[in-house]
């Protein structure tokens, strides 16, 4: 009898232990709207998988980047799933810091948009699954264009944009033809300027990793940007980033704004934007050289190498980036709130096309960006609005400071380019890319 009781006790203890051993996944994520929504809806996942608990660490983009980079570089093992961008994936995959991702047939990996998939793969292997993707495009005020007798083509050129911006500008009434990023930073003004320079035929490095700021293409692009902003931009543009321009556009002070496609949902939201019903969209401009000035970014989920919970983590990633999740969001919060820019099937869905009027242009913008061939001429790097090497954050920000100073009138375009060339050459030599 005693033995039986003991055995029973042991069994129940084991059962309790097994339950207590439900795996806990710690997920580091960025605090944008789509991610917060996923966090809210993740009960659906834990209901299907009662043996997996989720723990969230939600952080602002820059803090998140610093935090997860420290952890993965030291193999700290704090996170089972990390949210990272298209900048980190190629670098980390090369360092063998990430677990290669392979999913079952249900996941339909071929449904991922090719440009996004290419940006998250290394030698054909997927290292991160895209949660949402974005590009950049032109947002413009239909009413101001009409008043000025202008019509925005779906695929404008830079010359048209410049002409229209100057025509719309009415500085006395605080209406500026164009608002563009000017705040220094590799993810601020350099994201815009690098993408813009691509369409002017410029590139960061040639095939020998030699910086190219002394080439005429960069001079043309930067001069064009500075002149345009001086004539038709808002005052103090050299300190404007995404948020500053968003506030200017929403309060009716900008005729055009070229920035992330995610801004479309903000500027058309009548609760936040004074111009919600007057906004039109167009593809990012080009110079007729075959490349448009738009970028490509995808927030993606990845598993750090050395993780003890790879199977559970993969299960979660497949759920969060799969087709069923899109259907779940559509069911709970409407099609307009489904994370955009990752799957072809979403853009083929008539319900989505109807709910998101900017869907088609977002898709075209994403398709127009090619992270593996971002520029007119060949380059040795991956990345549209960045160069996927670890040194880029530092060099990009330093060059951004030079260009921001040129915009503020503290230096000339020639000085800024020559300083950028010198500092980029020095850093690339120090890092061992050039001799």
């Amino acid at each position: 009898m005693k033995v039986k009781r003991l055995a029973l006790a042991a069994c129940s203890a084991l059962a309790i232990a097994a339950h207590a051993q439900a795996e806990t996944l710690t997920i580091a994520t960025v605090n944008n709207g789509d991610m917060i929504r996923m966090q809210k809806l993740s009960d659906a996942f834990t209901e299907q998988n009662p043996d997996i608990d989720l723990e969230w660490v939600t952080l602002e983009e820059n803090v998140l980047r610093q935090r997860v980079t420290t952890d993965i570089a030291t193999k700290g093992g704090q996170y089972d799933i990390m949210t990272i961008g298209t900048y980190e994936v190629p670098i980390w995959a090369k360092q063998e810091w990430l677990v290669p991702l392979d999913f079952g047939a249900d996941y339909d990996v071929d449904d991922l948009l090719p440009a996004i998939r290419a940006g998250l793969s290394q030698d054909g292997t997927l290292y991160a699954a895209p949660f949402y993707g974005e590009s950049s495009f032109v947002m413009y005020r239909k009413d101001l264009f009409e008043d000025a007798g202008l019509e925005m083509p779906e695929a404008p050129t830079w010359d048209f944009i410049a002409e229209a911006a100057r025509k719309i500008t009415d500085k006395e009434n605080e209406i500026y033809g164009i608002c563009l990023r000017g705040k220094a930073g590799w993810g601020e003004n350099m994201a815009f300027l690098t993408a813009m320079a691509n369409s002017f035929g410029a590139r960061w490095f040639d095939m020998e990793w030699k910086p190219q700021f002394d080439q005429p293409e960069w001079k043309e692009a930067l001069q064009f940007y500075v002149d345009l902003m001086n004539d038709a931009g808002p005052p103090g543009a050299s300190s404007n980033g995404f948020n500053e321009n968003l506030a200017l556009f929403q309060t009716g002070k900008c005729g055009m704004w070229i920035d992330a496609t995610v801004a479309a949902s903000f500027v058309t939201n009548p609760e936040e934007s004074q111009v919600a019903d007057k906004v039109g969209f167009a593809l990012a401009p080009d110079k007729g050289l075959g490349k448009r000035g738009n970028w490509l970014w995808a927030w993606s989920l990845a598993i750090p190498a050395g993780s003890q919970k790879i199977d559970a983590a993969k299960k979660f990633i497949a759920w969060a980036t799969g087709k069923d999740y899109a259907a779940l969001v559509a069911d709970k919060e409407g099609w307009a709130n489904v994370p955009p820019g990752t799957r072809t099937s979403l853009y083929e869905n008539p319900a989505y096309q109807e709910a998101a009027p900017f869907a088609e242009l977002t898709l075209k913008s994403i398709q127009a960006a090619d992270p593996t061939h971002p520029t007119v001429e060949e380059v040795p790097y991956v990345g549209v609005q960045f160069v996927a090497i670890p040194e880029f954050q530092g060099i990009g920000t330093a060059v951004g400071q030079q260009f921001s100073a040129a915009l503020a009138g503290q230096s000339t375009v020639d000085q800024a380019l020559s300083n950028a060339q010198t500092l980029a050459e020095r850093e690339m030599m120090k890092a061992g890319y050039t001799k």
Binding site: N31, G33, I36, E55, V57, L59, E61, R67, T70, A247
Partner: protein, 276 residues
């Protein structure tokens, strides 16, 4: 006898004092006001000062989205814990340096302060590795230890300055009456140094409460204090100033209230020995 100050001068200084006080307080006031606005009115130009539709929706949303009390509890444990641990180490150290100085006391003090001269990020990786290997990552104990270490030089310096103001003769008299070292510290030195110790305590709680480098970098989900709570609301892509303001107000409110109630003690401690 105190010199009579003309009423007009007094009034002038009072107004000036209030003005300076208001200027310093204004950013906090603005944060609190913004936290009661909608996202739309938060970015309105010209800015709306008091006459807008007040709403508490930001607070409701912030509480629904994250667990404020978990972060709050972590902040309290870490800041109070690190300060108490720091005092435990610093009181004997400051006592020794103030009352039995040696040739090298000044150098030791300066050396302690020099550890504050290195930017924290310079030692991030070594500390991170140490924490990883000893299992202290994302634990309150780990953060308490690291914050004790970072604030220790300041605690020692502050206490040393206060202790120096206490005449050594009083301690000597206690010793002559047969007091042991422990009794001397507990019954003679400590009561005299209470204002100094109290202000050191308060200032270090504030410093530890606001510390945002180690608390963000060494935590993940379990030990994250209010600094991480705020970091989940600031955003470089999207204008969520009202929500960020609500999160900030919630994060600073406890320390603001503590400061308010203890301001007499704080001022007394900070000006201790300034007037002779």
């Amino acid at each position: 006898m105190a010199r009579a100050v003309p009423t007009r001068t007094k009034l002038g200084f009072t107004i000036l004092g209030w003005l300076v006080g208001f200027l310093i307080f204004f950013p906090i006031l603005w944060t609190v006001l913004t936290s009661f606005k909608t996202e739309g009115t938060a970015i309105a130009t010209p800015p709306q000062f008091l006459f807008f539709a007040w709403t508490a929706e930001n607070y409701i949303e912030v509480n629904a989205r994250s667990d404020y009390f978990k972060h709050f509890a972590n902040s309290v444990i870490i800041s109070v814990g690190s300060t108490l641990l720091g005092l435990l180490i610093a009181i004997p150290a400051a006592w020794a340096m103030a009352f039995s100085p040696t040739k090298r006391t000044k150098d030791v003090l300066l050396w302690m302060l020099s550890t504050k001269m290195l930017p924290a990020v310079g030692v991030l990786v070594p500390i991170y590795l140490l924490f990883r290997d000893s299992g202290l990552l994302d634990t309150r104990l780990g953060l308490t230890v690291v914050l004790t270490m970072t604030n220790l030089p300041i605690i020692v310096w502050m206490l040393y300055t206060y202790f120096r103001e206490i005449p050594g003769d009083i301690l000597e008299a206690a010793r002559m009456d047969g007091a042991s070292l422990a009794k001397e510290i507990v019954y003679v030195l400590t009561p005299m140094a209470v204002p100094g110790i109290a202000s050191t305590l308060l200032l270090n709680i504030i410093l530890a409460w606001n510390e945002a480098f180690w608390t963000l970098n060494l935590t993940a989900a379990k030990a994250a204090p209010l600094t991480a709570f705020i970091a989940s609301y600031s955003s470089p892509e999207g204008l969520f100033w009202a929500k960020l303001s609500a999160a900030s107000t919630l994060a600073i409110a406890p320390i603001l209230i503590l400061g308010w109630f203890s301001q007499r003690q704080l001022v007394r401690g900070l000006t201790f020995g300034a007037v002779k």
